[in-house]
Amino acid sequence: MDFFGIPIQAVLGQLMLGIVNGSFYAVLSLGLAIIFGVLKIVNFAHGAFFMLGAFVAFMSGRYLGIDYWAALFIAPLVVACIGIVFEYLFLRRLYGLDPIYGLLLTFSLVLVLEGGFRVAFGSSGQPYPTPELLRGVFNLGFMVLPYYRAFVIVAALSVCLATWFLIERTRLGASLRAATERPDLTQAFGINVPLLVTLTYGAGVGLAAFAGVLAAPIFHVNPSMGSNLVIIIFAVVVIGGLGSIIGAIVTGLALGIVEGFTRVFYSEFSSTIVFLVMVAVLLLRPAGLFGRTEA
């Protein structure tokens, strides 16, 4: 059986890989989109927090004996706390200024974090074991699907859906949307917007760290693992529509799949395709696929 002359196994294999990558894109771009929506800050450090999540899992495993399952909860919390401190001490001073300041500050954080981990652990990367429970594969007949990759897809999409639900369907989410749309007025109703903003940043980078822990057993845990992703994530957020929650999730997943297919048919093109899609979308729908055009 083949598909335009390419064995179906190869196509499905790349499709699966695309969905796994797309799951990472979805979780990361979701956090980036939420942070941009509420803080109006382009969080260039998003990839660094992803890397930090993977390193917290790795270090807590090596030095404290904390296993993967615990790390999946602990690392996002630790990174969220770091993010909250960063927001409280530094980032909040830049609200209302030219966005370039936020970009520069978060970029400087990338340099500090990546540089620090490079000094401490080198740049080649550290292996992180796949949890025992998830070693092995599903043999689907037409392809094999490692348990762990299946788990990544399910875990990532569950977290995306839970986040979407929290924002779109709960009272806390309504306050957050109100704070995004009209921060002044929302404060005047007695809602502590600065606190919401701080917690949003913590939650956003916590999501990145969660993706980092999910990624640890697949990629080597290395200081530049976030930089490789962050540019694509920016493209995803732009394509989905800045600040759109559902747009970030759907676009992240879709672009992972598009990338996977491109790898099958013309692999040299696979690292470029996302940006071509971005160009096309910006030409046709400048506000992004799911973006609202501001009045």
Partner: protein
Amino acid sequence: MSDAIATTTAARAGDPMLAISGLQAWYGESHVLHGVDVDVYPGEVVTLLGRNGAGKSTTLRSIMGIVPRRTGSIRIEGQESIGLRPHRIARCGVAFCPEDRGIYATLDVVENLELPPRVRQGGMSTEQVLQLFPNLRERLRSAGTKLSGGEQQMLAIGRILRTGAHLLLLDEPTEGLAPSIVSQIGGTIRKLKEQGYTILLVEQNVRFAMTVSDRYFILDQGQVVESHDRDSFERNFDTLMARLGV
């Protein structure tokens, strides 16, 4: 003018619900309020009048703490609020309905209605608000900004009645609305007054204001230049209208 002030203050007893003195406010470099003095007593409806740019809306925004910079004194039920952060000010028992109505496009009608947290006991329930404004009931799951102008205004007033705040600041609630809706809003304001609410109103529509107000403050260039009770306002109606450029 000075005897108008004397009669109105003498007529009031008890502590003011809202006492503003020497309020100054700035938007960046631009100095908008130059020492506003206004007091509002419990159960009163007081209207701020003045030409465009006189500082009426800025006075309301300053009370809520949502101007970049303000100084002076604003006491809400005796509590000084000038140094409080905006989300604390609402908790002093004051609620604000902005000029543009401030309906959130990303929230549906119920979410808009239930957004402001309760700051006091005794606020209306969502059900009571819907009894007051039955038009909203059919639109509960519509996006807030899909409503007509009149419905949006009802939503904007309705949502602050849930909070339990007894001091309401209404910024031009009749602007751009059809006459039938304006009279419905007027009826609502009188009903709220009967229930003991205290209302500080900003209006361009003087004839509307006269149907609900107990007292008036005239603002010009960021200061209160005159104050009137109902009688003196009616006596001086023609001069006032000329001065307000209506």
